[in-house]
């Protein structure tokens, strides 16, 4: 606890010069210029980048994870168990290796098979697909991020579904439910709190994740980091820190500004967590929620 307090204090002190200089503009500003004499630092683009990549990763990763959990729950142990084991091992793969794979393998395939076809087909009409795909962009980073949260989210979802009592499944089957209807009648209602919790764990990881995103997001700066489409480069809070921390001169406002980004990142992560935990708690009240 003391460590946390100290940590917040140090981050606050470290970023104080930047915060003092720019005030609220530091959070809502969109400029980012480290060149001496023309310094200007605003976090907003990176905050937006973080939220968008995390949200997209959730949108892709959570349904995928729940599907995997359903498959494992629904399979006999001799298939489900090894599959669960493999999925859990993948949680142990370091994020920098996901980044490496994303950069050298996934990016090329993804541009060719997903992004370019989407762009060609819809780019002219829908702004989401408008930018020319290059592979170092929001969608690539979010997709890799989604792959990274799958092991965590799916293994927790699986545990939660396995905890649904057998009698509940039998009740559904007794009524003549198909397997899918059994999931809808017995398993989802029973495990929705746990599934939400699993998603939150994934969100926590997606928000704080640094390396793979840094390697894939294209590292735009300032206002241009607010993505104009799924195929534009962006920047997250953690990736700007990773990219610029070492080269930032402690004498200038650059370093305090980066530390300020860290502070905003911390605040974002913690508040997402608190909100999510409150949500889970509210869902747990019997009769509350759908």
């Amino acid at each position: 606890m003391a460590v946390i307090a100290l940590m917040v204090y140090e981050l606050a002190m470290g970023s104080a010069p930047a915060l003092a200089e720019y005030g609220l503009d530091f959070v809502v500003g969109t400029d980012w210029n480290a060149v001496e004499g023309r310094e200007s630092f605003g976090v907003l683009p990176y905050l937006v980048g973080t939220l968008i990549t995390a949200a997209l990763a959730m949108a892709i990763g959570v349904p995928l994870s729940i599907g995997i959990a359903m498959f494992i729950t629904d399979s006999p142990a001799r298939i489900g168990r090894p599959l669960g084991f493999v999925v859990e091992l993948l949680a142990a793969v370091p994020s920098v290796i996901y980044g490496l794979w994303g950069l050298y393998v996934f990016r090329g395939l993804f541009v060719e098979w997903v992004e370019r076809p989407l762009h060609d087909a819809l780019g002219a009409d829908i702004w989401l697909f408008s930018a020319a795909p290059f592979g170092l962009d929001v969608l690539t980073a979010s997709t890799v991020l989604a792959i990274m949260i799958v092991p965590t989210v799916s293994s927790v979802s699986r545990e939660v579904m396995a905890a649904v009592p057998q009698q509940q499944r039998e009740a559904a089957f007794m009524l003549g439910a198909t397997r899918w209807e059994m999931f809808r009648l017995a398993i989802f209602p029973h495990s929705r709190t746990g599934l939400a919790g699993a998603a939150i764990l994934g969100l926590g990881r997606a928000v704080g994740e640094t390396m793979a995103v840094t390697m894939l997001i294209g590292n735009a700066k300032g206002a241009s980091a607010i993505p104009s489409s799924l195929f534009s480069p962006s920047q997250t809070m953690s990736s700007i820190i990773a990219n610029e921390f070492v080269e930032a001169s402690p004498a200038s406002l650059h370093l305090p500004a980066l530390i300020g980004v860290g502070l905003v990142l911390l605040a974002t992560a913690v508040s997402i967590n608190i909100v999510a935990h409150l949500l889970v708690r509210r869902m747990r009240v019997p009769g509350g929620g759908a």
């Binding site: 599907g67 091992l89 142990a92 793969v93 370091p94 393998v105 764990l201 704080g208 390697m215 860290g262």
Partner: protein
């Protein structure tokens, strides 16, 4: 037979929808299977690429030599391997005792409000983005000592390790049956003696599992190392100086435009992933014997699952 007629009327209201429902069921089964395939393919691809590309890079020189000139394709990643080992060792030195102590406190003495607060904060702490740990370590170690160092990296990593070990320790000690404790008490042992000699001994497997899994987690951490150990192309020159580490080296290599850098990146990834997966697989097979991992239990509890 009024009721019989009534029931017949009710039955007539039922739709003959079974074929459609079975079709929906089959579609959903396909969707679910597709999810598995969509997830497994990239994961398989990662392992395959790392192994296939990494194997080309691996040689005695690669594993032991210091890096050659940038882009030359000479030398190796010896310092990074050495650095990772040194830093993980240091991290354990810092993180394991503190984590275990905290876990013991939570499991054996943690009833009151203070324990609740400690538990809450370890949970919150676990969710902190790791890069923030790096910034913090930069402040309290790098700035104070005046230079990047192995200590700073280990400090940052131990902050990541600490809550994992604390909570896995707590979880596995809680699993020890109460009768063990009572038996110890009945022998007239002091509470701490019961804790150390009996409960810890019984929970040993869980403790080791937690430690090894947290080791494999921190060994792959990159972000907090950027601002603490800096990276280096020299072999280890003392705890006080910059050192290299595999994940950091992989990242740096990925920023370089040379083919040789890419090859070296894959090679380093192979070394790193081998270290981590070996630890993981061993832990799972040897220590857990197919039981749920303490990390899994933890995640489940935190996800709010009913027991």
């Amino acid at each position: 037979m009024d009721t019989a007629r009534r029931r017949a009327r009710y039955r007539a209201l039922f739709r003959q929808n079974v074929p459609r429902r079975l079709a929906v069921d089959r579609v959903m089964r396909g969707v679910v299977l597709a999810c598995v395939i969509v997830a497994i393919v990239p994961l398989g691809s990662i392992l395959a690429e790392v192994i296939a590309n990494g194997a080309q890079a691996i040689s005695i020189e690669f594993l032991t030599a210091a890096p050659g000139a940038v882009g030359s394709g000479e030398g190796g990643v010896g310092p990074a391997i050495q650095g990772t080992l040194v830093i993980v060792g240091l991290t354990c030195l810092l993180g394991v005792p503190v984590g275990i102590m905290a876990g013991i406190y939570l499991a054996e003495y943690g009833r009151g409000r203070l324990a609740g607060a400690v538990r809450f904060f370890t949970d919150v702490f676990m969710e902190f983005p790791s890069i923030v740990m790096g910034i913090f370590a930069f402040f309290v170690v790098v700035l104070v000592l005046g230079h990047f160092s192995a200590w700073a990296g280990a400090f940052a990593l131990s902050l990541i390790m600490f809550p994992i070990i604390a909570r896995t320790t707590e979880e596995s000690m809680r699993l020890v049956q109460h009768t063990y404790r009572e038996a110890g008490m009945a022998l007239g042992l002091k509470k701490w003696a019961v804790t150390v000699r009996i409960v810890m001994a019984a929970a040993r497997g869980g403790l080791v599992t937690g430690i090894l899994l947290s080791v494999s987690r921190v060994a792959g951490e990159t972000a907090p190392l950027i601002m603490t150990i800096l990276g280096s192309s020299q072999f280890f020159g003392g705890f006080g100086g910059p050192v290299d580490a595999l994940p950091l080296r992989i990242w740096r290599l990925s920023l370089l435009p040379y083919d040789s850098a890419q090859l070296y990146g894959w090679g380093s990834a192979l070394v790193l992933i081998t270290m981590i997966l070996v630890v993981n697989v061993c832990v799972r097979y040897a220590l857990m014997g197919g039981r749920a991992s303490p990390l899994g239990m933890l995640a489940r509890r935190r996800a709010g699952a009913r027991p």
